[in-house]
Every structure is written in structure tokens, then in C-alpha cells.
């Protein structure tokens, strides 16, 4: 025993010695651990009481960013679904003391991650230091995003992606969910400087760069934070979203009268950040150099012509539910105790890949294919996918049958035709079982609720709620890629879209701080939670208000389109698809609102 322990001791010593004196050791890093108190010696008026409404000087907002900000109404914070939104990663430095600690690998003692906790609104960030890969672009976004860190001498450089859309100031200045954050954390003795660089192709013409300071304070006492949302203003109709018509915002110039902020500066823009702008402040007619704006065009929808080259991406959403992404609509896969159910089937050409992707998840038999609408990118693979599964043989009927295809009866109506007429699609794609009631239930190790959303995207929409897994598959009522597609020819309505979005919000519940909990698989785009649907609902509602305002002012459709009522969201949702553009969306909303006025 003695011999053995001596050996171990010697070996441990050698390992330590090699670790200390060999040149291959990891370069030294600064210890950031400790409790840090926030110093408010910059922008105190912004970070405490907040800027004046309409005051954006020094912010590199582009035209969309300004329009979005002018739409913002502070009353939106009274909505229960907005009350518990915490400060996002790019705003945590604005208010509250923080604690930083490191997480180490117990075996190697290497730092795996830095953790940061902000007292105000109790947010915790994790900054991964172990070179782990970033999540898929289809993964859910969070308020704090996904952060990785790397030391450059005494600077910890942090890159954050997967952020939810959020405000970085409480005046409606938004960073979109396509935005990213770069930080440099630099410690000098008992002071910590955090530099933030916010980049956003949707709302910023240039990166917004800010710096904040902290002092080490081992004496501070951190406190928790408990947010319980309540209806602060009674009597509001469901789905109410307070906003301003951007071109009629009455507070645009408040800072001019109240704080003497020059009018040429108050609406911000990249030029207001640079020394040359001082000349403009002294003489509004002075010429200042133009600052090149970051031009962005919305992401185009993926082409569907090269389906052979396309691969299917599978992500676990939560518990028993997965999302498959290919060329068409998202597919939701639910793995029960004995079998598999899927929601939607994309295109026929992709069916073998879809079936293979399902088999990568489980070998259990496929029993049901649920269609959320009759669209080709939701139902095109019905026959092939159903054939890959089978339905249980039930007495007295013999013979194995493919998996059952379920949808609302209006889906069958749209896909089929009266006897003697040619149906728009092959009968092999038709639902084999339909429901005409407001909802239908299925069971596969958990309760599965099929809810008919009347007259939303079409008149046959179904949202599928997996109760045990707490996941909702929304179909095309909700997308993170485009404005809602309102198929008016097939019974879709703008009001129905809004009603359905509000219904999804009503059905879902966050885990805490307006995040997680119920997850939503959208018709197209990434995995979401309630906050993302709220964000989308707010956008659709606001556009409705603007178009209604233009109609009330007597504008024609052409004039409404020319007024660009969606301009602030076009960089995010304006990507044209073969059958849907921002202008067709405006037209659909205009026609419905115009008709409802009659």
C-alpha cells in the first residue's frame, strides 16, 4: 500500500510539474469570479428612469428600426404576456448587480463555462468555454441566447447567437432575433469593463457599441426575483395590443421640447454617433458625410427544385416530440409508448428521406399522419409516409392498412372533388379519416388534441397539442419565416389568423420569465415558445392597425402598398415565396378590412 501511494504521489507531482513548467500549458486567464456592483456613471438617465419616448439620438437605427420604435407604446408592458420578459443578454448591463462564477471540469480543472447572474429580473447566462458547437439554426432562441467565450490575453471575448427579439432600451428600440452580440469582458484590478457590440441586419445600420462598468463588491447581498403576470388593466378585449401608428406617433418630438435635444438628432441614425454630426447640431443645414447603411434583404425561402440534394434535419423539441425540417413545412414527430404519430408530410419526393429520418429517431411503427392544412408542402408526402407505417388491424376487419391520415374535413373537401369531377390531387394523398367537430383527440402515450382553427390560414386548419410533451404544432397559422399566408380563396381570413395566434398563446404557458414551457413547432422556421408567438401576434396586429388607419384615411390599395405599412418587419418576414409576398399579404389584409367596413 505504501509503495502504491508513493507512486501515486510521485506521479501526481510529475503531472503537476509538467503542467506548471511545460510550455504547453493553457495561457493564463483572468479570474472574473465575484460579486460586482454596477456603476451608473454613464447613461444613468437612460438606465434608470429611461429615455424619453421618441428619443433615439446616438443609436444607429436604420429606417426600419425607427419605424418599429415609433410604433412602440409603453402600455404593451401591461400585457401579462409581456410583463415577465427579462433583460436580454445585450441589456443585462443596464441595471442590477451581477455575480460571476466559473464552472470547472472536476477532473482537469479546466474552465468549462462562466456563469453570470444579474440580480435585476434574475437572469443567468452561461458562457461556454469548451468549444462546443453552436445549436442548429432551427433551435429555440432565448433571452440570453447561446454564448461561447474565448480568452485573448486579458479580454474574454464572447459571441452570442440564438437571441429572441428584444429591446435594448425601453423605448421600442429592438434588436431582431437575427441579431448577434459580441462582448469583451476586461478586468482591471477591482473594476470590470464590459463592452457590448450589438449587430442586427434588420434594425441597425451599424453595430451599436456600448461599455458598462462594475466594481468588485464582496459585501453585496444578491436577491431573487419573482415575476407573476397579472392583468393590470381590466376590460381589454382578448388579443389587445397597444401600439402607435408610426407616422402618427404623438411623442416623436417630446425630447426636443423637454430636453432641448436638437430635432435633427432625436430620431437617431448612424450619423448621429460621429463627431461630424456636431456641425449639424449647430446648423441643421450643414452637410455631414453619409454613413453607409447595412443593406439587408430578407432571407429567401429555400428552393424546392433540388429536393434530391436536400437532407432532413431532425431536432428534439421536448420530451417525446421532434421536429423534422426539409424543404416544405416542418414535420412534427411524436414517439409514444408503442407507435409514432407525425404531423404533416412535406413533399412526396422527400418521403423516403422523411421516413428514414423518423427511423433514426425510433423503430416504432407509424400509425397516424395528421395534416394541419391541405397545402401541398404539408400533404405531398402523405401517401408515401403513410405507406411506411401501418394501422392496427381491428376485428372484424382484416388486412394491414397504411397509417391513417387525419385532417379536418375541410382539408378533404379541398383535396377531393364531387363525384364525376377531377380532384386537384391524387386520392392517395387524401385524408382517410376526418373530423368536423371543433376538436378531436388521439392517444399515444399522451393526450393529443387536434383543434380546428376556423378560417385562419385556410378553413381547414388544425393545430395539434401534445399535452404530455407540452408541444403545439401550429401549421401555417404561425411561421418564423414569412408574414402569415392568408389563403382567402380557401377560406382563410386575417381575423382568423389573429384569433388562432391568440388561441395558441392562450393554450401555451412559459416555464418562467416568459420563456420555455410550452414549445411551438411553426409551419415554417425554427422552434419557438409562447414569447415568439406573442411577438408574431403583436407584429400581425400592428400591421392590421396601420392598414386600418390608412383605409380610414381613404387610401386605395395602391396607396396603402406605397405607404409601406410593413416596412419595419420586411427585413424579417418579407422574404417572398413563390405564392406569397409582402404585397399580397397587405392586399389580403386590406381587402378583408375594407370589406368589414362595408
Amino acid at each position: 500500500m505504501k509503495h502504491s501511494s508513493n507512486t501515486s504521489l510521485l506521479n501526481a507531482g510529475l503531472v503537476l510539474l509538467v503542467g506548471i513548467v511545460c510550455p504547453c500549458y493553457v495561457m493564463g486567464q483572468v479570474d472574473l469570479s465575484g460579486d460586482w456592483t454596477l456603476l451608473m456613471h454613464e447613461d444613468e438617465a437612460w438606465r434608470g428612469p429611461g429615455p424619453e419616448l421618441g428619443e433615439y439620438e446616438g443609436l444607429p437605427l436604420n429606417a426600419a428600426g425607427k419605424m418599429r420604435a415609433w410604433s412602440w407604446n409603453a402600455s404593451i408592458n401591461t400585457l401579462p404576456e409581456h410583463q415577465c420578459i427579462p433583460l436580454p443578454a445585450d441589456d443585462f448591463t443596464d441595471f442590477g448587480n451581477i455575480r460571476i462564477w466559473k464552472e470547472v471540469d472536476p477532473a482537469t480543472q479546466r474552465v468549462i463555462a462562466w456563469h453570470e447572474y444579474t440580480e435585476w429580473q434574475a437572469q443567468e447566462r452561461v458562457i461556454w468555454m469548451d468549444s462546443r458547437p453552436r445549436p442548429s439554426e432551427l433551435a429555440a432562441h432565448t433571452w440570453q441566447g447561446f454564448s461561447t467565450g474565448k480568452w485573448d490575453r486579458n479580454e474574454l471575448t464572447i459571441q452570442t447567437t440564438h437571441l429572441k427579439e428584444a429591446q435594448y432600451e425601453r423605448v421600442g428600440t429592438y434588436r431582431s432575433d437575427r441579431g448577434t452580440l459580441t462582448e469583451h469582458w476586461i478586468r482591471h484590478g477591482n473594476y470590470l469593463t464590459i463592452m457590448l457590440i450589438i449587430s442586427d441586419p434588420v434594425y441597425l445600420a451599424k453595430p451599436l457599441v456600448r461599455t458598462r462598468q462594475y466594481a468588485l463588491d464582496p459585501d453585496q447581498t444578491m436577491r431573487g426575483y419573482n415575476c407573476v403576470p397579472t392583468a393590470e388593466i381590466a376590460g381589454r378585449r382578448p388579443g389587445y395590443v397597444p401600439d402607435y401608428i408610426p407616422w402618427k406617433n404623438p411623442f416623436k418630438l417630446d425630447a426636443v421640447t423637454r430636453y432641448k435635444v436638437p430635432e435633427v438628432a432625436v430620431s437617431g441614425g448612424p450619423e448621429t454617433m460621429y463627431p461630424e454630426f456636431v456641425a449639424k447640431l449647430k446648423n441643421p443645414n450643414a452637410r455631414v458625410p453619409e454613413i453607409a447603411e447595412t443593406r439587408t434583404s430578407p432571407t429567401a425561402a429555400p428552393p424546392t427544385s433540388n429536393l434530391n440534394d436536400l437532407s432532413i434535419t431532425a431536432l428534439r423539441v421536448q420530451r417525446n416530440v421532434y421536429m423534422l425540417h426539409g424543404a416544405g413545412a416542418n414535420i412534427t414527430v411524436q414517439v409514444g409508448d408503442d407507435s409514432v404519430y407525425v404531423v404533416d408530410s412535406e413533399f412526396a419526393a422527400l418521403a423516403p428521406k422523411i421516413v428514414a429520418a423518423i427511423k433514426q429517431i425510433t423503430n416504432k411503427p407509424l400509425r397516424y399522419v395528421i395534416n394541419t392544412s391541405f397545402d401541398a408542402d404539408h400533404t405531398g408526402g402523405n401517401a408515401e409516409v403513410a405507406k411506411a407505417g401501418n394501422q392496427i388491424e381491428m376485428y372484424p376487419f382484416g388486412g394491414e392498412t397504411p397509417a391513417t391520415i387525419v385532417a379536418h374535413e375541410n382539408v378533404l373537401k379541398r383535396m377531393s372533388a364531387p363525384t364525376g369531377q377531377v380532384s386537384p390531387v391524387s386520392d392517395s394523398l387524401w385524408p382517410t379519416e376526418t373530423y368536423a367537430t371543433p376538436q378531436m383527440q388521439l392517444y399515444n402515450g399522451e393526450g393529443i388534441q387536434l383543434i380546428h382553427e376556423r378560417a385562419a390560414h385556410t378553413d381547414g386548419d388544425t393545430i395539434v397539442y401534445f399535452h404530455g410533451s407540452d408541444v403545439i404544432s401550429s401549421g401555417d397559422i404561425f411561421s418564423t419565416e414569412t408574414y402569415p399566408v392568408i389563403d382567402r380563396k380557401n377560406g382563410g381570413t386575417f381575423s382568423g389568423i389573429l384569433q388562432s395566434l391568440n388561441h395558441i398563446i392562450e393554450l401555451s404557458i412559459p416555464k418562467g420569465q416568459q420563456e420555455g414551457g410550452t414549445y411551438i413547432v411553426p409551419g415554417h422556421g425554427r422552434i419557438c415558445d409562447q414569447a415568439d408567438v406573442v411577438n408574431y401576434r403583436d407584429m400581425v396586429t400592428m400591421i392590421g392597425h396601420r392598414i386600418a388607419d390608412l383605409i380610414a384615411d381613404g387610401k386605395t390599395l395602391e396607396q396603402v402598398v406605397a405607404a409601406q405599412p410593413t416596412m419595419d418587419f420586411d427585413g424579417r418576414y418579407g422574404a417572398p415565396t413563390p405564392n406569397w409576398t409582402k404585397d399580397t399579404f397587405i392586399e389580403a389584409v386590406y381587402n378583408e378590412l375594407k370589406e368589414s367596413k362595408k
Partner: protein
Amino acid sequence: MSAVRPSLVSTRPTGRRRRIGLTLWLCLAVTGLHAQNEKTVPPANAKAAAPIDFTGQWVSVVTEDWRWRMVTPAKGDFTSIPLNQAGQKIGDAWDPAKDEAAGLQCKAYAAPNILRMPERLRISWADDDTLKLETDTGMQTRMFYFKEPKSKGGDWQGVSQASWELTTGYNFFSVMGIDNNVQSGRQAAGQRVRKPTSSLTVVTTNIRPGYIRKNGVPFSDKAVLTEYFDRTNESNGDSWLVVTSILDDPVYLNQPFVITTQFQKQTDRSGWNPTPCSAR
């Protein structure tokens, strides 16, 4: 005649000892190589020792305190500054006309506030041990002395002592005498080996009393300004100069006034616009 010292243990290496010996040999060989690589002559001067290059032209990007930097704030607006009552009293008595009449237009362009101006900076080496910082706004020049300062201060920019920030350099192996640097005689046991980080530290004293802000917020002749200069390099090619400044003033401040100001690196010398001090 030779005496053979009795050995307490067998001198014949066992397999285990061979392994340990081999490990030690490898370790020492590697560290020896490392030591050889490190046998470099210490840098002769601050310029040669510079861990990072701050030289070039930089432009301020005013995204913070805009209302207090891009325009002259109103008298009595002390927002964000931990100003004590004595300081507030002086701030409330600010009279720019009086400053102009006295030829004191540059009071707000002194070291504690000069980097808060909307401006461009030019940083260059005045000599091998002195870094020079010039501003176009207010046309001020600051000299950061890494050796004995050639100025005694007493003007708006005071006297600035510069140093490259160093790591702590503690190493208990050095105290034990088993560190390679100690064994090779290049270092005394327990001597700290402090390596430069990428920061420049500048401590400025003996500054002529002036303003922290253009609207007459005062600092006294007892003020000590400590600044840390850092530089970042972004993946898109941008580079930022980040200056964290800590102003201690026992006369007019309730606590150190800590701010950070950022400047973007220019790839050219465009936009340089020398402008004299203005009291308003």
C-alpha cells in the same frame, strides 16, 4: 582510495523508476527547450515591449451620454456624476462667459474629460518611451511617459505616467526553487515573473483644475485619473480602442467616477478637423 557511500536503495533502475526517470527527463528536456526559447533580451524600451499597438487614428463613436457629450448640457445638470455638495455648488455657478473672458475655454478639455469629446485621436510614439495622444477637438496633446516624465504637469493634461499592465506573476514553484528559471539562475527564488497583458495603464496627476463636463462640473487639483487602454479586434475587421477611466477627486466627488469611452480605428487619416476649445 575512495569511499563508497552505502546506498539505502538499489541503484539498479526498476521498470517503474525507468518510467519516472524518462518522464522527468522528457519534462526537463521540454522545459529546457522552452527556457532556451525564452532566453531573449528584455525589451530595451516601452515601444519594443508594447504587447499591443495603439498607434493610428481613432474616431469617437458617441452612443452613450449623448445628451451630455454631443451638446453642452444645461447648467446644473449633473446626471450620472457622483458629485458632492461642494462640487454642485461650483457647478451651479458655471458661467461660460466668465471662462471665455479669463481665457479658460479649455477647462472642459482637460485630461479627465478630453476623451469624452466627439473627436478624433491620433496616437503615436513621440520617442521610444513616450506615447503621444493628440485630439482634433480642442487640439490637445497628452504625453504618456513610461520613464521619468519630462513634464511636471500643472496644465490641462497634467503629468501622465504610463506602464504596460502586468500579470501578478506569483508562482509557488519559484519559491520552492524548483522552477526552471530559478534553476538556471535567471531568476531568484520567489521572484515574481510578471508578464504584460494587452492593456496600457496611465495615471495622471497634477492636472490644472477644470471640468468633467462642459457645463462646469468641476474637478480639483487633487484629482487623480487612472486610465486603462484596451484594444479589441473584431471578426468583421473593426478594431476598437476602449478606455476605462477612473477619476478620484477627494474634493468634489463622493466616489470614484468611472466611465468607459470607445473609439473606432480608422484605416486612414480622414476627418481630422482641428478645432479650438470652446467654453459653450
